[in-house]
């Protein structure tokens, strides 16, 4: 048997692929914005919150960072119905990604906050800024700027991780690739296409975030 490539067989299914790409982008967009916000809130809580809140957030961060993503996803989708909470595959996927990214982002942002020079905070306090103002105006923007590359990488990891959301029938890109290969048995070709699309998405996302970060997130 000679292996011959048949890419047209896969590309003919482009509407499926396009829908998959759109779903992957959508999942990533929502979970990145909500996840990073959650991460910042958790970073604040771990630094400035009350003792019980610090413990709670610490437990959350450790729980999520020390368990596999797919187990978290299965817990939300297959586990929660056991106590009467039914989530659609899409909602379960977004929630799992938000919760996952939130925990990692919390630690990344905390690292940025922790390296803020004391003098800057004291200077801000001497200008009679409230604690909240000190955090949002003086501490957070340069902290985000310092950790932005790490944060962008984490967002990309979460985007790539969304590939397992197909396991609970969320129709994202890997799901589309898998569905195509199960119909025409062109496994090699469909996963080559999926690989290239993921590669392109990851590179574009990195460029986009590197460009957008200084302009919209922690602009001066």
């Amino acid at each position: 048997m000679i292996i011959t490539f048949d890419f047209p067989a896969v590309l003919a299914e482009w509407p499926l692929l396009a829908k998959g790409v759109a779903a992957t982008i959508g999942l990533t967009a929502v979970s990145a914005s909500v996840g990073v916000t959650l991460g910042v809130a958790c970073a604040w809580a771990r630094q400035h919150g009350a003792a019980w809140l610090r413990t709670l957030v610490g437990a959350y961060v450790e729980l999520i960072r020390n368990t596999p993503f797919i187990v978290q996803l299965f817990f939300l989708f297959f586990g929660l119905p056991g106590i009467g909470i039914k989530l659609s595959p899409e909602v379960a996927s977004v929630l799992a990604m938000v919760v996952n990214l939130g925990a990692y982002a919390a630690e990344i942002v905390r690292a940025g906050i922790a390296t803020t020079p004391r003098g800057q905070i004291e200077a801000a306090q001497s200008l009679a800024l409230t604690d909240m103002q000190v955090f949002t105006r003086v501490v957070l923007p340069p902290a985000l700027q310092r950790v932005w590359p790490a944060l962008v990488s984490q967002i990309i990891i979460v985007m790539l991780g969304s590939a397992v959301c197909g396991q609970i029938s969320t129709p994202e890109l890997s799901y589309a690739a898998n569905l195509i290969q199960s119909r025409n048995f062109r496994a090699f070709e469909s996963f080559i296409v999926a690989t290239l699309v993921y590669l392109a998405l990851a590179m574009l996302l990195r460029r986009l975030l590197t460009w957008a970060g200084p302009r919209f997130i922690f602009g001066r």
Binding site: I2, F77, F78, R183
Partner: protein, 263 residues
């Protein structure tokens, strides 16, 4: 890497599997006999055909069939667990010599692999809770159904599905059944044995047969063009049918006789 060296490397990498594949053409049977090893792709998610017992070892009708063929060939058997979605790629990429994995025959599959004669009976259907009225395909409008991606049920449900039926596809039978058990889908399209096993273990979810999808006996898959291996396996199955060995396996695992199987 300059664009030209990149292209060259890419070209070479593309050709390598091609040559490797040519070198192995048509002699799978000789390889098996020479190595004294038969690699068989089996299911671990479709009781009683293939499932993992309490000792964590695969067992079931398909596993016994694999052992039977191995014994007749006089070679050891290595079992590789596969899912519905990846069992054919395992054969195409020579990761397995045979697929004995509740594999039904259809024209799409016949384009990419070859089949032996049938070795066990099977049928697929839509199952759902007794409280849900589903008698004809038209009743499926507005319902959600779980199927296993790449399994026969996936295609068969697609054929009868009215617009408005929400089909959710899962990676393996366990995913499909779990989704049904958790109430994430209202119905499931699965093999009779999977459903039977589920109903026996989960009496609290009152499940019943709804619509027959397809009567489809199981065949053993071999890589395209491996005629020597295919004919040898046909010979073994034919002999095992005649001697009653296959019937014994059907009685042991399915609780019913082999019946008439197409050859």
């Amino acid at each position: 890497m300059t664009p030209r060296t990149f292209l060259r490397t890419a070209a070479v990498l593309t050709l390598v599997p091609l040559f490797a594949a040519v070198a192995h053409a048509q002699n799978a049977l000789d390889d098996i006999v020479a190595k004294k090893l038969l690699v068989v792709a089996i299911p671990t998610d479709s009781a009683p055909y293939g499932f993992v017992g309490t000792d964590l070892k695969p067992q079931g009708l398909d596993i016994d069939t694999a052992e039977l063929i191995g014994a007749k060939l006089g070679v050891k058997v290595e079992l590789v667990p596969v899912t519905s979605a990846n069992r054919i790629p395992y054969l195409q990429t020579k990761k397995a010599d045979l697929v004995i994995s509740t594999l039904g025959k259809n024209p799409e599959r016949e384009k990419v692999i070859d089949f032996t004669i049938a070795y066990s009976p099977f049928f697929q259907a839509i199952f759902g809770p007794k409280t849900l009225v589903v008698k004809t395909p038209a009743d499926l409008v507005g319902k959600t159904i779980g199927v296993t991606r790449g399994a026969m049920e996936d295609q068969e449900v697609g054929k009868i599905a009215p617009p408005g039926l929400d089909i959710k596809r899962f990676e393996d039978m366990n995913g499909t059944v779990s989704a049904y058990a958790a109430g994430q889908v209202q119905l499931m399209g699965v093999g009779a044995s999977v459903a039977g096993n589920f109903m026996a273990k989960n009496p609290q979810v009152s499940t019943e047969f709804k619509i027959l999808l397809k009567e489809s006996p199981n065949y053993i898959g071999v890589a395209k063009g491996e005629d020597k291996l295919r004919l040898k396996v046909n010979e073994i199955i034919g002999a095992a049918k005649a001697s009653g060995e296959l019937n014994k396996l059907a009685l042991k695992w399915l609780g019913r006789p082999l019946g008439d199987l197409p050859s």
